[in-house]
């Protein structure tokens, strides 16, 4: 067991970083392979008073897995599927370790090839049925497919398809977790609830965790700002989106959805932002809900135009029509060809009414075309990251400032107006894209120098206040981690932050786990 913890050396430098491009520090690192090893590692850290930072694919952009001292526990070697279940409604679920990479999970499910070694009889029987039956998929689809499912659960990740199918939370049926002191809990959805805001949660050793949930009202938007808390809640939900601060997840049971027979993507272009936003609202009102409604502003489109022309790796991008200053990507899922076709043609009428042209509208109906449009969607953040990396070489203080805020339906125009006014007033370069269907746009401020970066942060904080006033969330899918702790305080205020701290103490009395995530660590009496 002990050899699982070793000193962190210069070669492990990558484990001090994530995609937030902030660099932390740690003295030790461990790569446990089993829940038993996780228990051993955490217990030893607990006894030694060593802070622990949990890591998966290190693809987060809120620095949630950047260590602030102590021990890094990378769960990436816990990357096996451990079983499968057939659910009562004919769907399936897969039991996975937290280090399973999303793209791998996708491949396993799509090809129906899972490594079944060590599975129990129930799992093997379910797997055989699964192979014989139709197609299934795991719907959460953050852009970064090299994310680990453990990390995705820790930050309640979403993606474009969350518009239709919901975030990771909606797909976790059960989980196993290890506390800092080595105790374990197992929870299945629908089995254990809080009473009001009070909860009792038994550990597998028979001991009982008792506590009180914070009393804030969560926004009625996509949200991953702080702990998920509401009266009488399912206690399983407490651990989803808890940012690696309460427990180490060691197994997740994830629901698989039947794949729709037809998955079409449509890229709609408009000469002006207002037209695109109007179109988003029309599409959102359609009787059959779209699977995804994504938005890209003119700056994002310009970045793509440049990449396509200059970078061979992006040459296969679908072209952005001349004159397009905004794009809306709509994804339609359906089981009937005639129905999806009718939906497509109706979309055409709506886009013409909004000021778009069917001649410019790209329709992906085959897997290859869908992949090309998804590449389009993913190429935007990818390109922005490359741009920022270049600028960082000139001034190391520069990093991307990307917002992750959602507002309630009805506030979409207002929030777009807020962003545009702020950007103009501060004179900042930006690119805006995101999940317009959920009123959840990522405004990416692209600092040209240190001064831009400083002012961008100011603007961001101003927006956090305004979005909170609109009843929105300061973090909607990227989680709070370390880099957005300030905004969480803006959103909920110090009293509720104190409630969160108290809740954390129930699980981690010494304040060792995920230190500085959600709120800054404060040395307190044990």
């Amino acid at each position: 067991m002990e050899d699982r913890i070793r000193r962190l050396t210069a070669e492990d430098e990558a484990y001090l970083r994530d995609e937030s491009h902030t660099v932390g520090a740690a003295e030790y690192i461990a790569f446990p392979r089993t829940e038993e090893e996780v228990r051993g590692v955490l217990r030893r850290a607990y006894e030694a008073g060593l802070p622990v930072t949990l890591q998966g694919g290190r693809t987060g952009i809120s620095a949630g897995c950047v260590p602030h001292g102590g021990l890094v526990v990378s769960l990436t070697r816990m990357n096996r599927a451990e079983g499968m279940r057939r659910l009562e409604d004919g769907r399936y679920s897969v039991l996975v370790q937290p280090g399973v990479v999303l793209s791998e999970l996708g491949k396993w499910v799509e090809s129906k090839r899972l490594d079944t070694r060590g599975w129990d009889g129930e799992s093997l029987a379910a797997y055989a049925e699964f192979c014989r039956g139709g197609e299934f998929f795991f719907s959460p689809d953050p852009t970064e497919r090299s994310a680990c499912v453990g990390g995705m659960a820790a930050c309640n990740a979403s993606g474009a398809l969350s518009y239709r199918y919901g975030p990771v939370r909606d797909h976790v049926l059960a989980l196993r977790a290890v506390l800092m002191d080595g105790r374990t809990v197992a929870l299945r959805r629908g089995e254990r609830f809080a009473r009001g805001l009070v909860f009792e949660l038994p550990c597998e050793d028979g001991s009982l965790l008792r506590g009180r949930l914070p009393g804030y009202a969560m926004p009625s938007t996509k949200n991953t700002s702080g702990y998920y808390c509401r009266e009488d809640m399912d206690l399983l939900d407490l651990f989803i989106g808890s940012d690696g601060t309460l427990v180490a997840l060691t197994q997740l049971e994830l629901a698989l959805l039947p794949s729709p027979a037809f998955q079409w993507c449509v890229n709609c272009y408009f000469p002006a932002e207002g037209q695109a936003i109007g179109f988003v609202k029309t599409v959102r009102d359609a009787a059959e809900k779209a699977a995804a409604i994504e938005y890209f502003d003119g700056d994002a489109l310009d970045i793509l135009r440049r990449q396509r022309a200059e970078n061979p790796a992006f040459a296969s991008l679908p072209p952005v029509p001349d004159g397009a200053a905004a794009a809306v990507c709509v994804e339609l899922h359906d089981d009937e060809r005639s129905r999806i076709q009718a939906r497509l043609f109706r979309l055409g009428e709506q886009l013409r009414a909004a000021g778009g042209r069917e001649e410019d509208t790209q329709v992906a109906r085959t897997a290859a075309d869908v992949a090309a449009l998804k590449f389009f969607r993913h190429a935007v953040p990818e390109s922005v990251n490359m741009l920022i990396a270049q600028r960082k070489k000139q001034d190391p203080v520069i990093t991307k400032l990307g917002t992750d805020m959602a507002v309630p339906d009805g506030k979409l125009d207002e929030v777009v107006e807020l962003y545009r006014r702020g950007l103009a007033e501060y004179g900042l370069e930006s690119a805006v894209w995101g999940h317009a269907g959920n009123n959840h746009l990522h405004v990416n401020i692209l600092p040209r120098n240190g001064e831009d970066y400083r002012r961008g942060k100011q603007l961001y904080a101003r927006w956090a206040r305004a979005v909170t006033e609109m009843g929105g969330a300061v973090s909607s899918e990227h989680a709070v981690g370390k880099s957005k702790a300030d905004f969480l305080e803006i959103m909920y205020g110090p009293a509720h932050i104190a409630e969160m701290r108290a809740l954390k103490r129930v699980f981690d009395p010494r304040g060792l786990l995920g230190r500085d995530n959600l709120f800054a660590f404060e040395k307190e009496g044990e």
Binding site: Y127, R132, L344, L347, D360, R365, A367, D369
Partner: protein, 260 residues
């Protein structure tokens, strides 16, 4: 310039699934798609038409459902779709397929250029292009990566060879099979999709083509599959032992088998 493009409908995946308990082959329910190589042939045809003017005919031999693929071809810029479909065409190997396709092309033609993908991903034979050319009595060039019509019934063609490539002048009409590097296929526009759905697809069977039934389909196919089996392949990573020399030999042997 009158251009024909041969399209084949193929399963969207080559995955062969086995029943974990009975070890029999399971076929997944995914849709059929156009052979990815053929998508590049269609794109090239449409680009040639756009730069030189002309007419693009998409042609396919297949089941009636392959009509979807021809509508999609129209959505991407083809002017018409021709489907060769008949019970008698079923079970064709490359010889019978090229015979039937040649008849369809003669009836739909004449054409200046007949474009095919380099091969179909489900059969991997790369034989249809040259066999078709022989059946039509036309010259053919494989592995084509660039086409430049130069007038006077000729085109200049660049093709890939083992060493690099060569430039060849070919007298039209000719059959060219294209590599994927030649272009990036476009996506249909919504306006194109509407055109595709509205298009009437020509359907020709045995009678319309006036072909010899004994040369079509299963009857016209000299080759037959006598056995299929799933290659035994280790599922987990195989760590090779031995000294460096023998490891290198093993790796090369495996590489040879994989590329076979």
């Amino acid at each position: 310039m009158r251009i024909a493009v041969c399209l084949k409908q193929v399963p969207s995946t080559n995955e062969v699934r086995l029943d974990p308990e009975t070890h029999t082959i399971l076929r997944d329910g995914r849709q059929s798609v156009v052979n990815p190589f053929d998508a590049h042939a269609l794109e090239e045809a449409v680009r040639l038409k756009e730069s030189l003017g002309g007419h693009v005919t998409a042609i396919s031999m297949g089941i009636p459902a392959a009509e979807t693929l021809l509508r999609d071809a129209v959505a991407r810029g083809a002017d018409e779709g021709v489907l060769l479909t008949d019970r008698a065409f079923a079970g064709a190997d490359t010889l019978a397929t090229s015979y039937t396709l040649a008849a369809g092309l003669r009836k739909a033609g004449p054409f200046d250029l007949i474009l095919c993908g380099k091969m179909a991903v489900d059969g991997d034979t790369a034989q249809i292009g040259p066999e078709l050319a022989q059946q039509l009595g036309l010259p053919h060039l494989t592995e084509v990566c660039e086409i430049t019509p130069v007038g006077e019934g000729r085109a200049r063609v660049r093709r890939l060879t083992q060493r690099g490539g060569q430039e060849v002048e070919v007298t039209l009409p000719a059959v060219l099979t294209l590599v994927r590097e030649i272009n990036t296929p476009r996506m249909p526009t919504l306006a194109g999709v509407r055109r595709g759905e509205a298009a009437s697809i020509v359907r020709w069977g045995l009678a319309e083509l006036g072909v010899d039934e004994s040369r079509c389909g299963l009857k016209g196919s000299p080759t037959q599959v006598v056995r299929t089996f799933v290659p035994v392949r280790a599922r987990e990573t195989a760590f090779l032992s031995g000294d460096a020399r023998s490891q290198a030999e093993q790796l090369l042997k495996i590489a040879g088998e994989v590329l076979a």
